[in-house]
Symmetry: C2
Subunit: 244 residues, 2 copies
């Protein structure tokens, strides 16, 4: 039978934030192709005898380049295998999912995308921070703190405007550049900001501050776990949930 | 024992896009308090003998005002009940979840927020449209098409800027206003746009166009089912997944 590739969002890392659909497909897969961001507890939910192939993550040493991942997915499907391409969070939010689907489409491989809980949603839930909130945040924008040629390639003029929440993925290392960019574009340095680590898991921690102070506060606080930066007026509404 | 309120994202409507955590909590709940946006197939996953309370949705006739919902959640928890407050999508994206959590916090009620797959992720997956994509979409912004005093209260100057994807929730009725606002703020009318109905379910449909044409195309196409509008360069990359 012809093979198929499911591009599946694995959610933020907690096994119980997988969707039922993701779990079913992981249970039926012949091969799981995954990034380093997919946690061991999530991988443990896959079919026990499914082959597991680690393809690293963008920017990491010893990882397969994107073209190589695309070619691998095409080859596995042409071998007739049922492939789950598992990505941390959601496949279409900073996951290069677009590249992989285009490659599958061009190769004529059957494919399907399964959405997942992206990190911003999980981190907001853990920190008790609403991403939208009447007047304080009419919109929410997801951006990435990943550097290009040593700089943050972001539209700071748009991001510095009021009444929005900004969620910066992989934003920890570039926090000083984010601060300089936003404040340089007119954002009030007193604008609330927070860092959330391990959002969605029982190891979640959050650090409140302002866009002016948060980079300095983060030094010595951050553990190196996956982290998200939230900026905007609604961030001041946050508090760790009472029940956890 | 003291009661507790779980504010749970029900996802986009397909039962199998619930998270495992949501499913477990729905199975343990004494009471399910839900909106009209939560589908019957999702509600069917709850404990059979759990009480179900429909509180309508914002703007609908015969729905409980937000203050009434907040008071209901507090009262149920004070009666010692285990309450699941179920919201379509994610509780913290256009769900008034912030209001409910503030009320619970003020009342000293134990609570926890469980993230869910928000509509933009499910619609993008169904339509094969990456929300972010290298240069075409460096960021993605979620906005609402809900009217305030008959107008769209959005920062069109920010939304009209290039290299982003805009996802407009409940955007169908206000599409002409969205077009006028974006084009008036400088967006090229040829910018790709799409409407996706029933995203994440096997009834998903998508309509491609441009921000200039999509409002006219939508007439006669839209069924009245929940729909999302996507706008931006990356929207042109979309195609219905081959497998569905």
């Amino acid at each position: 039978p012809p093979g198929i590739v499911y591009l599946v969002g694995a959610g933020p890392g907690a096994a119980d934030l997988l969707t039922l659909r993701a779990l079913r497909l992981m249970g039926e897969a012949d091969v799981i192709v995954h990034d380093r961001l997919v946690t061991a507890e999530v991988l443990d939910m896959a079919r026990r005898d499914a082959e597991r192939i680690l393809v690293g993550k963008a920017g990491a040493a010893h990882s397969l380049p994107q073209d190589g991942i695309n070619a691998l997915l095409v080859r596995l499907a042409r071998e007739g295998r049922r492939v789950v391409r598992l990505k941390g969070g959601d496949p279409y939010v900073f996951g290069r999912g677009g590249d992989e689907i285009l490659a599958l489409r061009e190769a004529g491989i059957a494919h399907e995308v399964v959405p997942g809980v992206t990190a911003a949603l999980a981190c907001a839930a853990s920190a008790g921070i609403p991403l939208t909130h009447r007047d304080a945040a009419r919109t929410v924008t997801f951006a990435t703190g990943h550097l290009r040629d040593g700089r943050l390639d972001l539209d700071f003029a748009a991001l510095a405007r009021p009444r929005q929440t900004i969620a910066v993925y992989m934003g920890l290392a570039s926090l000083p550049l984010l601060r300089d960019g936003l404040v340089g574009a007119g954002m009030d340095p007193a604008t609330p900001a927070a860092i959330i680590e391990n959002g969605g898991t029982d190891r979640a921690r959050s650090l409140p501050g302002t866009i002016g102070t948060i980079a300095a506060l983060a030094e010595g606080w951050a553990s190196g776990a996956p982290a998200l930066v939230l900026v905007g007026g609604a961030v001041a509404l946050g508090a760790p949930p009472a029940a956890s």
